[in-house]
């Protein structure tokens, strides 16, 4: 009965999970609230990658996984996929975004104005070590401007299109349930536009940055100019069965338009995601900009970057290498040993 004695599997699994959870201790609603309030950008990032906009669930996933981001996103995705799709909201138009931050690197000033909004871009990155010495860090109060910036602005590319500098993509004529949904159908290539943008929206931030950065450094043809970067809130407008359209609430979104000279016109790259995540949007838009005509097998080719920036898939496959592989390994060993024995046999034969 020697085999039976080795059957510790079930117990070992349970105890190893307990060890993992012991580090986080008790999780209650207060902890979730604390995560939500203290780490809004992390919550945003996780919501974007999970393609599920729910601050409480995202904060809970972070608390439950102790901040293991890939695990947190997987938790949310696995929850999300079992939920029914109740309806499809109206498309969000750029000029209807309630904008907090909106900048353009292409022009000094733009119609609607540059709005700096919240950013650490110009902060000196000095660690507030005083906090550890017992002096709390209290942010200085924001002083509102004399004249508030307009909350709604046109897109920069709209002005460029008017001046024949850029060809805007034709608006999709699909509505509601006809819009391809990546979470309900497989990604195939050449990819549908909706699938491409959805993939980028839920791509893993670090992965998009790595490949986007490769394109920026020169493994892509187009050097991006940030035409417009926005952090905003979008109304989720849905239709009541009686026909009335109403806003079910607002979600934070970020989006980036990048351009580069392509002949006599500007090429346009675009990406948007839920939550505020500037690095991801600029990188994703850069990949989008570079993807047209990119050679197969290069980092800027659609199939290459969409497959390899899928965080749940890539992280899952990476950690699966921890699983036993002794059958496959044994099979390779057998072929290697046999080939080696054969080569020794050949060497033994005298040279004629």
């Amino acid at each position: 009965m020697a085999y039976v004695a080795t059957r510790g599997g079930e117990r070992a699994i349970k105890q190893s999970e307990r060890l993992f959870r012991a580090a986080m201790g008790k999780i209650d609603a207060a902890r979730v609230t604390e995560v939500k309030q203290a780490l809004p950008y992390l919550v945003d990032r996780v919501m974007g990658e999970a393609s599920l906009y729910d601050l409480d669930l995202a904060a809970l996933a972070l608390a439950q996984t102790g901040g293991e981001l890939y695990e947190a996103v997987l938790l949310l995705r696995a929850w999300r996929t079992t939920q029914p799709r109740l309806c499809v909201a109206e498309p969000v138009q750029q000029q209807d975004l309630f904008t907090h931050r909106r900048i353009s690197a292409a022009f000094k000033d733009i119609p609607g104005g540059q709005v700096l909004g919240p950013t650490p871009d110009y902060a000196h990155r000095i660690l507030a070590t005083d906090v550890l010495e017992g002096t709390p860090f209290v942010p200085e109060p924001v002083e509102p401007g004399a004249k508030p910036s307009p909350a709604y602005q046109p897109s920069v590319s709209a002005w460029q299109a008017k001046n024949d500098l850029v060809d805007l993509p034709k608006p999709e004529s699909l509505h509601g349930n006809d819009i391809p949904d990546l979470t309900r159908e497989p990604l195939l290539f050449p990819s549908k536009r909706a699938h491409t943008l959805q993939s980028l929206a839920r791509a893993e931030t670090g992965g998009v940055l790595a490949l986007g950065y490769a394109a920026m450094r020169g493994y892509g043809q187009a050097h991006p100019t940030v035409n417009e970067l926005r952090l905003a809130e979008a109304e989720v407008v849905v239709k009541h069965p009686n026909g009335t359209a109403f806003s079910a609430g607002r979600v934070k979104i970020s989006q980036a338009e990048v351009v580069s000279k392509q002949g006599e016109k500007l090429g346009l790259g675009f990406a948007a995601t839920m939550g505020w995540n500037e690095v991801k949007c600029i990188s994703a838009a850069t990949l989008d900009l570079n993807s047209k005509g990119a050679p197969k097998g290069t980092p800027t080719e659609e199939e290459f970057f969409l497959y390899h920036t899928e965080g749940v898939e890539s992280s899952g496959f990476c950690i699966h290498f921890k699983l036993p592989h002794y059958v496959t390994f044994q099979s390779s060993l057998d072929a290697m040993r046999d080939a080696k024995a054969k080569s020794v046999d050949v060497a033994k034969e005298p040279v004629k």
């Binding site: 039976v4 699994i13 050449p190 097998g297 992280s315 496959t328 099979s331 057998d334």
Partner: protein
């Protein structure tokens, strides 16, 4: 009639975890894959509460097929007690109410990572194989859309060339597990990383085999009584692992696929890879009445 009488009480989870729309898609794709043996069918592949690459494709198939009347067995690299097999078995039982078993003969559905049990499978059994990489052409063409076109054209020249080059360089075909195989004379498939030992078990077998890759979102099948032929040259016969003469040091079972266990003295000992077959062999040796099924291999050889 009240609304309440027409609806079911709210539950936090659908039966079998997956929602009905996901199961419907899987059923359709399984039927398609049975209709065109060995051809990879793309499917949405929902996230499940397990990491990608850990059997999520096979898990979705099992979750769709299981019902409380079916008995389920889960193996990983031949073993029922491997931690991931134990975890999947626990999850399947928890969400489907299906009873579990370790005995191949008792199971109606077997989810397996990289092994086919040594005992014969019957017509009333379904084997669901976990597949890390569904594309046999990946090593000669990493781009999935080009590879898809090559399958459509039955353009397997590069595959043959790769096997030929191995013979030229090493004196034999070096492919370990996942040996590329022609299904029904039309589609080349990867049998998943099962050892070469197991590939002949798929040929004209009585049971249905469904292969599902969750991360790569592809499903394919070998229906019962379908030809599965490893790609070989007429003058270079197919070679399974040289395990036919090995003996399991625990059970004494001889002529099956083995795990090699390195020993302190520099030698190797061997244990039957199909762990439950090993357990049953031990019990039989110890005088227990055990139902040991017929095996594909006899005396370490696959009968022609």
């Amino acid at each position: 009639m009240s609304l309440k009488s027409l609806t079911k009480p709210w539950q936090s989870m659908s039966y079998g975890f997956l929602d009905p729309s996901a199961k419907r898609e899987l059923r359709r794709k399984m039927l398609k894959s049975v209709a065109v043996p060995g051809c990879q069918m793309p499917y949405a592949s929902r996230e499940v509460p397990m990491a990608r690459g850990w059997g999520t494709g096979a898990l979705q198939v099992s979750l769709t097929l299981l019902n409380p009347q079916m008995c389920v067995k889960v193996i990983d690299q031949g073993a029922d007690d491997s931690v991931n097999a134990a975890s999947i078995r626990r999850f399947l039982a928890r969400v489907s109410g299906a009873p579990t078993t370790l005995d191949t003969l008792e199971a109606h559905l077997i989810q397996s990572r990289h092994r086919i049990p040594e005992e014969f499978l019957r017509e009333d059994q379904i084997l669901v194989l976990q597949v890390p990489n569904p594309e046999p052409l990946r090593s000669v063409q990493p781009n999935m859309s080009i590879a898809r076109q090559m399958h459509a054209d039955a353009d397997y020249g590069r595959m043959w060339l790769q096997l030929y080059e191995q013979i030229v360089r090493s004196g034999r075909i070096m492919q370990g597990a996942s040996y590329p195989s022609m299904v029904n004379g039309r589609h080349v498939m990867t049998p998943s990383p099962i050892p070469r030992w197991d590939v002949p078990k798929l040929n004209m077998s009585k049971h249905l085999t469904i292969l599902s890759a969750g991360r790569e979102k592809r499903i394919f099948a070998v229906p019962p009584y379908t030809r599965v032929e490893p790609l070989v040259f007429d003058d270079v016969p197919y070679q399974v692992e040289d395990h036919g003469a090995l003996t399991c040091k625990r059970s004494g079972a001889k002529g099956f696929f083995m795990n090699e266990i390195p020993q302190d003295d520099g030698t190797s000992a061997f244990e039957v890879s199909d762990s439950e077959y090993g357990v049953k062999s031990i019990r039989q040796r110890d005088g227990e009445a055990v139902n040991l099924g017929g095996t594909w291999y006899k005396h370490g050889e696959m009968p022609k």
